[in-house]
Symmetry: C2
Subunit: 258 residues, 2 copies
């Protein structure tokens, strides 16, 4: 069975059993989500940060403190993503496949929309998605654009990049604009220097992809933005997904169609 | 000068000077907002309630504790709405034109999208708006639909109602669906009994309007929903706008066009 044909429960079982790969291309038609888990004391700051930066942080679901599943994610948030990142005082201290051992009862988990969700729609519309063709992770970059801060949280916008043939850029914008809850339309087309990005070959997260002649780099807001804010703002503890290694939810792509 | 031609600053000056009227039809092209101010200790519960009930509670702006203006509202939140409601332990204890005397430094103010914002677009599209024709307040009703609770906050959905000629219902849906941040498309068309509403002539808030032959009652989610949750959930203190007597913001209607 191809990755695209898996159900969310099947994919989560594979990840729980140890499969550790980026989730782009998995479970066609099902929404994927970024994870950020923070102590309850920091939950208001994050929810406000998300309200102030909705394109980067579209919140799909919020758990009660300590809960290990969510209304749109019936799996176990501690084991059913392919990989996690653990932060203490803003420092990345571990990347691992299971966070059961460091889980805390005061953690509020936020599931934030992920642009992998609209990739099926891009493919259906005839827009190629290079990192799926290449079987690699999407490239992600920290930009020079500041998010609006909230309480103790501040950070810069992180974007994902997909090269799009110039003539298909309007179609790519139109298709993705229909999914505002999973980052929606691009934030930028074609001039990485204006985002402070000098070298697309060395992404901050994920893998570089080829940009072919006649293609423009197109940038979408990315749900790794909360982790960039954690690294800058240094809450005492946080867990995120490993970039590109998402929570595959029980919600359908079309649940987020505007 | 007509009410529609006023700028937000001009309208706010009139309200500050004592004008106490519903704001429907004021300041064409400018967004209006519901106000709910709660102690900082209850701010997370409300922001989570809004995240879980986005059609009723689309949050446009959130202040820091004690702040009396907001990024989209350069006036004074304590004086520049036409009228306020003050709640203690969930009981309505005052309706007044100025809340300076009861203001608290720990109040976080939430500006929540208001359906008055899309009424200009409805009129432009040729959809009549009865309460503007009649010069009265929009009728609002508490329904039997429960909102998803959050922390200590729970309550039922409040809706506003506009009678729409049957042949214009699809147009009214399409026009308003383009404004998701100000309640968007209707939640219900034509069968008030299914919302638990037996008597449209006696709204819970605002004024009744005539429903003429050939018209259907069309119901939109309403930003009075937070005040219904306050009445049910009894936080120690809260301030809201008097229903229909909104904050007129410095944001344009089209800022909220999807």
């Amino acid at each position: 069975m191809t990755n695209a044909a898996l159900t969310p429960a099947e994919a989560r079982a594979k990840f729980r059993a140890g499969l550790r790969v980026p989730t782009s291309g998995f479970c066609a038609g099902w929404a994927q989500a970024n994870l950020i888990s923070l102590p309850r004391d920091h939950a208001y700051d994050f929810l406000l940060f998300a309200q102030r930066n909705p394109q980067a942080c579209p919140v799909l679901d919020v758990t009660e403190p300590g809960e290990t599943s969510a209304s749109i994610f019936s799996g176990d948030l501690r084991t059913d993503l392919p990989a996690y990142r653990v932060y203490r005082d803003g420092e990345l201290v571990d990347e691992c496949a299971d966070v059961t051992g460091v889980w805390r009862d005061d953690l509020v988990s936020f599931l934030v929309g992920c642009s992998f969700t609209f990739e099926t729609a891009l493919l259906d519309a005839g827009v190629p998605v290079r990192h799926i063709e290449a079987g690699t992770n999407v490239p992600m970059y920290r930009t020079n654009r500041e998010c609006r801060p909230a309480g103790r949280l501040s950070g810069s916008l992180v974007v994902s990049m997909r090269p799009v043939p110039a003539e298909l850029v309007p179609l790519a914008v139109r298709v993705t604009a229909r999914y505002p809850a999973v980052h929606g339309a691009p934030v930028h087309v074609g001039s990485p220097g204006l985002l402070g990005l000098e070298d697309l070959d060395h992404p901050d997260f994920g893998d570089a992809v080829e940009i072919r002649p006649g293609e423009l780099p197109v940038f979408w807001a990315c749900g790794v933005t909360p982790q960039a804010a954690v690294m800058r703002s240094r809450p005492p503890f946080a867990i995120g997904h490993a970039p590109g290694h998402m929570a595959i939810t029980d919600a359908r792509d079309h649940d987020y169609l505007s």
